[in-house]
Symmetry: C2
Subunit: 265 residues, 2 copies
DNA sequence: ATTGACTCTCCACTTAGGGGATAAGATAAA
DNA sequence: TTTATCTTATCCCCTAAGTGGAGAGTCAAT
């Protein structure tokens, strides 16, 4: 019979931990003095404790260990833990990759964030525009056309609308684009205006502040990030307008978000 | 100006998180109604928030992010986080390895635990014995010899003593062993009894219950584990006696611990 | 006036124990 | 026997980054 301190020495386990394991019902001292409350352990409990420690060593939770000791299926629990570990490792690896790229590049002016874009119901219109500056007209025209066949249509709050460039290459004239605007419900399609429900998708995103002149830098920065972090583009890129000439006078206050839908390569 | 719910939608961040970031001083709403307490955010705060989220995405703590925003050295903090990640990954990998080996072998009768053996001051004696059964005599004799030159020597409480086998090979006769016993302080060495302070060392350990007949199975199980989990033997193995013929009548109650000092290969 | 949607603050909860305060028991020295 | 030291007991608070919920106030529409 050993007192808790001696048993703690023997097993190289802290007293706090032993008391905690008793509270959790993992390892009950073989005798407790009802007068003083002193716990007493025996050497035969060292292998019991070793089992617990060995399971903790594999990262299993106290709850899991408890159910294993109560006769649950060890193999199943280990397989679950294995999956957990695999996701942990892949997460840590991608964080490490991100940090390493950042330390090499040493450019921290732009921040890329990965987020899950939810499902949206949108109306959209595709077309070819002569010049970038025609985008605004294209958008206004689309909105008008949609309103004409769907007079009660409502945009979501807060607003979500974007343009995708559909040419496979970079062009400065005759650009094929799609404009999409999220709405609260499906409407009646016309010849030019179609409706669609977007699937949720993970996207790498970046905010672009200011006028559109150097938007291309943001694109290339973001696409480099996607490449370096082991992703590939899953769907057309969305150029999302948050603040622009329609509500901000100063070009410096314009705000655009570039969203690149991604999947792990 | 957006209310918290709208800003939460815009940024894909939960309301709870936004309030928490305000409390932590990471992102203060651009306006708070002093009457109602309502928070109001502007689109210009989206990039601010993006910076925070991008740092969180790399696993940096709120505290670290706060100091980065206050102008701390980003590079240094990233390097620290990098180290953290590397240890995290190596820990998870070794847990995964352990689980995979277990799932393959499907033998869960024995539990291996890794622990840090502390520094001990020991007296020890080396010698050659004819047969395993002579170990007991060897030990008693060593204790007697030590007492004769060091009459006031005291063993540590609880006891720690072990035998190491010094032949490079497995032998059944003429076995060279070392017996070591932990004591509370250095003593005067004699011709046969020496003193030494052991360095702390990490060891893979297993308990062996019962008589010594099938001790070899425990050895081979433990050594297989060491091999499979990417370790190598760093020092002589310690066969540590906890319960034995000196205090337990029934052989079934004997308890021995095998400790293999290890290092990562 | 009421309803429903939204927001506020405050509190408890999550893991696996660690730190510390205070009181009582155990043991050895004086 | 008293005292001093060591050990143990219980109890409460703390961790990181939020999540969940209760109860109360706010806002716009009906």
């Amino acid at each position: 019979m050993y007192r808790i301190g001696e048993f703690s020495e023997l097993s190289k386990t802290t007293i706090k931990t032993l008391r905690y394991y008793e509270k959790e019902g993992l390892l009950i001292p073989s005798f407790v003095d009802s007068q003083t409350g002193y716990r007493f352990y025996e050497t035969s409990q060292l292998p019991e404790l070793a089992k617990i420690i060995s399971l903790r060593q594999m990262g299993l939770s106290i709850t899991n260990i408890k159910s294993i000791l109560n006769g649950s299926d060890l193999e199943q629990i280990l397989k679950l833990r294995k999956q957990e570990l695999e996701t942990e490792i892949s997460l840590s690896s991608s964080q490490l990759l991100q940090i390493n790229n950042l330390l090499e590049g040493k450019s921290m002016e732009k921040e890329v964030i990965v987020k899950e874009l939810p499902s949206y119901t949108v109306y959209y219109k595709e077309g070819v525009i002569k010049d970038f500056r025609d985008i605004v007209n294209f958008i206004l025209q689309s909105a008008g056309e949609c309103k004409s066949t769907n007079p009660n249509i409502k945009c979501v709050e807060p607003d979500y609308c974007y343009v995708s460039y559909l040419d496979g290459e970079y062009k400065e004239t005759d650009i094929k684009i799609r404009y999409a605007q999220a709405v609260t419900q499906m409407g009646i399609p016309s010849e030019t205006i179609k409706f669609e429900t977007l699937n949720p998708v993970k996207a790498a995103c970046i905010y672009h502040k200011g006028a559109y002149d150097n938007l291309r830098e943001s694109y290339s920065f973001l696409l480099k990030w996607v490449e370096e972090n082991g992703y590939e583009i899953a769907e057309p890129i969305r150029e999302r307008y948050i603040d622009g000439m329609w509500n901000k006078a100063s070009e410096d206050e314009w705000l655009t978000e570039i969203q690149v839908p991604i999947r792990k390569k």
